[in-house]
């Protein structure tokens, strides 16, 4: 894993500028919300462009939920066996 270091200056209002190379590499746009993680004396900004929980909220809205895992596997198997006939 390669580690690259960049310098940035703290401006008035404690604002910092994300270097151009990083902005382009991670497609960071004005208005994006970034998370600052503080861990053991260091801060980092993991690139999470979208909330991973909200991104799947209701993506199969209204689909039946009362189905057991075994039934799902059995249905897959039935389909497979049938297609091999």
């Amino acid at each position: 894993m390669s580690i690259n270091k960049y310098k940035t200056k703290v401006l008035s209002g404690y604002r910092i500028t994300i270097p151009k190379e990083i902005r382009e590499k991670f497609n960071i746009k004005i208005g994006d919300e970034l998370e600052i993680v503080v861990e053991s004396g260091r801060i980092s900004i993991p690139i999470i462009k979208e909330d991973p929980v909200m991104m799947i909220a209701g993506i199969a809205e209204g689909a039946p939920t009362e189905i057991k895992g075994d039934e799902l596997f059995l249905e897959e198997l039935k389909r497979k066996v049938k297609s091999e006939d």
């Binding site: 991973p52 209204g62 939920t65 596997f73």
Partner: protein, 162 residues
């Protein structure tokens, strides 16, 4: 806090959530996943992941990449592969509890990992001395905040939370 197991209904109920009539079960499921996103360490199996994948492929196959993307971003959720020994134990427990074979395999993984708490709505696990954590989460103060955030995002809860 000891690590908890995440069962398939948690993902399924959240993905099947109705925006205009959000059920308490769907909201609690989303709340559990949010806790994990924010740093609560949890565990699930490749079996659970595949159950959810099969379910999603059946009802909304176009959403499969998003589900995988979401799983990859949930860095505090460890996805464990059951071993042949887990499956052997599951077979020996078949019929002992009101659980299907896939749940029994998950149970064997939980026992191997010394986990006795599960996020699920499947009551069958309680007969195997596994504590089900689900409905009580709606009493947590953070659940209220979570619901408010959902309301701000356009969800209409069908339950009262104030």
């Amino acid at each position: 806090m000891k690590i908890r197991f995440v069962d398939a209904p948690i993902f399924i109920k959240w993905m099947a959530a109705k925006k205009k009539k959000l059920s308490l079960e769907a909201a609690v499921s989303g709340y559990i996943l949010t806790k994990i996103m924010k740093g609560e360490k949890a565990i699930t199996t490749t079996l659970v992941k595949d159950e959810v994948l099969i379910w999603l492929s059946r009802y909304k196959a176009s959403a499969l990449p998003k589900f995988i993307q979401s799983l990859k971003a949930l860095v505090y959720l460890e996805i464990v592969s059951p071993t042949l020994s887990d499956q052997e134990e599951a077979c020996s427990n078949y019929g002992k509890y009101p659980l299907g074979i896939s749940d029994l395999i998950n149970l064997a993984v939980m026992r191997r990992k010394n986990i006795n708490k599960i996020y699920t709505t499947d009551k069958g696990y309680s007969s195997a001395s596994i504590n089900i954590i689900f409905h009580e989460l709606s009493k947590e103060p953070n659940f209220k905040t979570f619901t408010k955030n959902l309301k701000n995002k356009g969800f209409k809860p069908s339950y009262s939370y104030s």
